[in-house]
Amino acid sequence: MNEPKQKQYLFDNPRNVSIVLRSLYIICILLVLLDFILHRHVMHEWEQLAGFYAIFGFVACVMLVLGAKQLRNIVMRKEDYYDVDD
């Protein structure tokens, strides 16, 4: 109890982190709902699909990260790889 009180920063409090995350979830839901409400001028037929950009963004990033993990199996070497002769 007598420990010196350390300064609490914004994200030291888990509550603030969850506020940020919840806001993100709510924004995402709202953005998809807006798709049904607003009239969009689409230039491409794929864009007509409701939530096309939402789905695409999510899937693209998951594919990107999973692809990059696979890439790591091929290209990753130790930090001194170029400094040592084998």
Partner: protein, 566 residues
């Protein structure tokens, strides 16, 4: 008036020389005033249509040729140079100050060059004057990396010169206008530009050298060299369809590397190639809208990329490293840098109201208009990916994430000021795009802010963020690890040296074997000779060396005697 015809590189070269002679406040004033006055002069006094040339050995070097395209790049480089020198104002290293001014001047020289020989001169000067910004880091790695950088950049210049000479031989002209890929000279010049523009497989010098340069040097590097290449491609090869495919590959492959890279400045270097990809695509499409998109994106990009490199430079300066695995929690000690970095991240991710949004959308719109469906999807994928690695990863791992206990100070005032100016431009261009659009070379009506556009972009970005949260929470997101990810540079940093070493080894072995064989045959011959009758005559056999010395002494003694008698 003669002043309007003064090529813009000259004030920078003069300032670079004067820097050597000045110290203290005078030097500060000099290096800050040069880009400001030069930029204002260009903005207020210089109109399109000026041609300035000088004659050397009966050849006319066109040092300055202004049109809306070259002028816009001129303004841009002056702004970038000002931000760069302000960010580096605290640096007490004359070499860096001089070379950054010379480097900025060379970039001006290249964009205003009206013929290929002038372009070649500044092309090589760009390489030579920028290498010291890498070497000034003074580490073994930076030294080697800078040498590789210089070799590759200078070779690009050699190709340009070769292309220029072939063109002169074929067509008798060296003017730098549309070039195209119809001739061998066109291809040579195309590859020369491609090296500087970091085309796939020719890109590795960038991700090798930029992260090794000094915290302030990288800001200049990121702004100038590659954008000169974008300018030259836009002038020499607009509408070359091959560029659409090259650009598309450039947008996609680096983002995979960016996700697994630990050095955050290297992450930014990979994302630089990705951003160049959008511009290269715009040049390849070749419509007025797409070319305007390329130029506008180059403008936004130079500023937000500089902002991102500055924020990571500030982190490197204060925290001593920029490894995602070692940083974290820096928002506690560097809150201003954090905010400014986030503005840069929002701009590169093309958030509405930030600069990337109003420029990148032009290229994407032009792409749909011209019916490149698959390529458009690739660019959309890359757009989501940019947000993922440059927009989220860089600020998140540097300033938030797991706190590794680094407590430091906020960046110095000059750094904060430079970043603030860049951040202001990002937001200004994003909210008031008409000012930038009015400067674009071609007349096009484009409206970035409509509901469809804003909504779809927000969906794309927010769901990318959602994917990041989900991947991090489920532990699917790859850990940040100290490592090297091999790229095409493996060929010249590992494979070629290995081949050369083994060729050397084999040659040495072969030589040894030949020597052994020679020795053996000599021994055999010697033995054979020894067994013959001649050997019994004792020619030169078995005489001790002592007897030779004795005979020598006798002969010398004889000469001495003869000399004395004389």
């Amino acid at each position: 008036m003669w002043m309007t015809e003064l090529p813009p590189f000259i004030p920078f070269f003069i300032a670079a020389f004067l820097v050597i002679l000045t110290r203290g406040w005078l030097r500060y004033l000099l290096i800050l005033a040069t880009p400001v006055l030069g930029g204002l002069h260009l903005w207020l006094d210089v109109d399109p249509g000026i041609v300035t040339s000088i004659s050397i050995l009966e050849y006319d070097l066109i040092l300055m040729r202004t049109d809306r395209l070259s002028l816009l790049f001129g303004y841009l480089f002056h702004i970038a140079a000002f931000i760069g020198v302000l960010f580096a104002l605290h640096v007490r290293d004359t070499t860096q100050t001089v070379s950054s001014l010379l480097y900025a001047g060379s970039a001006m020289g290249a964009v205003f060059a009206g013929d290929l020989i002038t372009l070649f001169i500044f092309w090589e000067l760009l390489a030579i004057t920028s290498a010291p910004l890498i070497w000034a880091r003074k580490t073994e790695t930076a030294m080697r990396s800078g040498i590789r950088y210089l070799i590759i950049q200078v070779s690009s210049g050699m190709l340009l010169l070769a292309g220029a000479l072939v063109q002169y031989y074929q067509s008798g002209t060296l003017e730098f206008n549309y070039i195209g890929l119809d001739s061998i000279s066109g291809w040579l010049i195309f590859i020369a530009f491609g090296i500087k523009c970091a085309f796939p497989l020719l890109h590795n010098w960038l991700t090798d050298a930029y992260p090794e340069a000094t915290p302030t040097g990288t800001v200049f590097l990121s702004a100038l060299t590659t954008k000169v290449a974008i300018y030259t491609l836009a002038r020499g090869f607009p509408g070359t369809e091959l560029l659409v495919y090259i650009g598309a590959v450039m947008t996609v492959f680096p983002i995979f590397y960016a996700v697994i890279e630990n050095d955050l400045r290297r992450v930014l270097a990979y994302s630089l190639i990705n951003q160049l990809g959008f511009m290269v695509c715009g040049i390849g499409i070749g419509t007025a809208l797409s070319l305007n998109g390329t130029v506008a994106h180059a403008f936004s990009h130079v500023i937000y990329k500089a902002l991102l490199f500055m924020s990571m430079g500030a982190v490197l300066y204060r925290a001593g490293n920029v490894y995602a695995s070692d940083l974290g929690g820096l928002y506690k000690s560097m809150p201003k840098t954090t905010l400014l970095c986030i503005i840069g991240a929002a701009s590169i991710s093309a958030f509405p109201l930030f600069s990337g949004f109003v420029s990148k959308s032009m290229v994407l719109a032009a792409m749909i208009e011209e019916g490149y469906d698959i390529i458009w999807l690739m660019l959309l994928f890359a757009s989501a990916g940019v947000f993922h690695h440059a927009g989220i990863k860089v600020p998140y791992y540097a300033f938030f994430a797991k706190d590794h206990g680094i407590r430091t100070q906020e960046a110095p005032l000059n750094m904060i000021l430079a970043m603030s100016i860049a951040a202001f431009i990002c937001i200004f261009v994003g909210t008031q795009p008409s000012y930038l659009y009015a400067l674009l070379p071609w007349e096009v009506e484009f409206q970035p802010y409509d509901i469809t556009h804003v909504l779809s972009q927000l969906q794309l970005l927010m769901f990318s963020a959602l994917a990041f949260v989900w991947l991090t929470k489920t532990g699917l997101y790859p850990d940040e690890i100290h490592s090297v990810n091999i790229d095409i540079e493996w060929l010249y940093r590992k494979f070629l040296p290995k081949v050369v070493r083994s060729i050397y080894g084999y040659t040495q072995k072969a030589c040894n074997r030949i020597i052994n064989i020679c020795e053996a045959s000599f021994n055999v011959a010697h033995q054979a000779l020894h067994d013959t009758r001649i050997a019994r005559l004792h020619i030169a056999s078995n005489w001790p060396t002592g007897s030779m010395v004795l005979w020598l002494a006798i002969i010398l003694g004889f000469f001495l005697l003869a000399d004395a008698i004389d």
